[in-house]
Amino acid sequence: MRSPSFLLLLTKEFRELCASRSFWIMLLIVGALVGHSFITAVGLYAEMSGAGGGPAALSQGLTPLDGVLVPTWGAYDLAATLLFPFVAIRLIAVERETGGLKLLLQLPGSLGVKIAAKAVVLVGAWLVAWLPGLLAIVLWRSYGGHAYAAETWNLMLGHLVRGLLSAGLGIAAGALAESAASAAIVTLGITVGSWALDFVAAGRGGWLQQLASYTPTAALRSFEQGLLRLNVLIVMVAISCAGFALATIWLRSGRTVQSRVLQVLVLLVIAAAVVGGGARANASWDLSENRRNSFGPADEAVLKRIDQPLKITVFLSPEDPRLTDFEQNVLRKLRRSLRRVEVDYAATSSTGLFETDRYGEIWYELGGQKATERSTIEEVVLDQIYKLANLDSPARSSDDGFSGYPLAAQPKHATLLFYICWPVFVILFWRATTKWVDGTF
């Protein structure tokens, strides 16, 4: 018996998506969220650019990525966390609850292909939800705003894999749980768990921090910084695919629970191996226009000559802003530039109060030589490392070539477009697809 064409399955899933209220409600909410974020971000960016008549902030600090694009598209992180999983859950749970799954399971062709059709339609739905975000970019450009292509595409790639992850988790939860409500609780539990992990692991170091760097929020953060990390990409795609595969295994109700549990365990082992292997892929690309994730070319050239592992012991507590500075300005770049960097977070408290005299110190150890430093300033730290490696500090240029993009523009037409035109467009399209589904169109 021939399997139905993939196009037929896609059509079915697309019609089911169009018939789903959760999808249209998500579109309505996303428009408002993106609109609010965009209008606020453009207003703040204008203020920082001296719109009020006062002096502008240092122009080097005014990057459209941080000032406009990331806050605007940040609405999609919220949507991927709190809205999109329910669209994915519905696509599975309703068929389970109404008996459609019993017919679907008997259709010719493998269940994997049928789940793949659901995955493709969900990715399509996520891309449709991007329309307000793309509209925001078009508006920003129409105001004369700048958008660096590489970092903008990278940001969108981050949100694409974020959406894929939500779809994978939603489908898996929908398959495992008996009802849509239970699946929603499972998904929210995973989300809250990942937030807790993010919070607990901050500044702790070790495997916990390593693990926390792959939570959806943390993974998206690297894309928002203009950094494309291969390991993050592999891990997120692998977890998403594992979610779809788990649903495929679990929905085969004709197999015993023991056999399905065994297959899920095998899947988890394979997924863990792929995630573990992927996490070791250190390749990364700094796609930010101001190369914020890299040291200057002169320093990069010197650091490349250091073969030995660098061990850093930090006596700063997780809540100390100096640790945040050190992470963002030094450690993140060092991890990309040096072959091996080991960081030990030695502070024993979370606030830094009542610590020992060593609190605030940062110890560096390279090739058997040790040095202590308190500064978290990039140049000071690098000079210390060069001294330990017996290398001369390079001559650094004071101008990094990035002059910033101040723009005192008002978010013209944004209110009309996001708060009136978008909802009207969604409602009209909703009505049109409803008529298409019920055949009166």
Partner: protein
Amino acid sequence: MLWNCTRNLIHSCLDELLTVAGLTKTFAGKRVLSGVNFTVRSGQVCGLIGPNGAGKTTLFECLAGLLPADHASVKHGDEQLNSRRRKEVLFYMPDAIVPWAEQRVDWVLNFFRKAYAQSHDKVRALSTPLRLDEIRKSQLGTLSKGERKRLMLGLGLLTPHPLLLLDEPFDGLDLRQTRDVMTLLKSEAAGGRALLLSIHQLVDAGRVCDRLVLLNHGETVAEGTIDELRARAGLADGGIEEIFLALT
């Protein structure tokens, strides 16, 4: 008498399409099916009858591969059927389902037609006896119980499988519809297909089925034509209800 003997002879010569032996299923320590054995032959309407809770639906779901059986031998001719082959040999239409509630009837019919590579003629041939044209433009979720049952029967009959399992095919149908559906099912069987119907209305079973399998407390109590069952029950001229009561 001569007619009955001839019919029995014809039946015994028909192909054994599906042979089920020793089918056992336990739910949470409770044995729901206990060594069920029966045979379904090509060109026959076979009725699975039994009281509520006898295990009819569970038996169908096990046969269709939607539930795992603890133990079962399911053969198609001489071939032991694995789950993949079962999907090619038999199709099970469950009772009381409302799949794809927002979709239109004609789209769902078309989806099944395309999925099983059937012709438009086949759909047209089913539309008249099942009166599907009346509900073609309706959404599945808005159909009445009887309308939904007619559509589900249509979807089942649209599949090309040699064996069709229908759970309570007359449930929700009025008298006229029941008679029309019985005629349709008999003509389908006359075309060589086998139908296994789960029926709790014994009178309906007696009117449509060539053979009956009696299921009680998860066990096959008896199997055969009405005459064979009557003989087994030791009744000279009892109806199906008397036979059922005598054997269970």
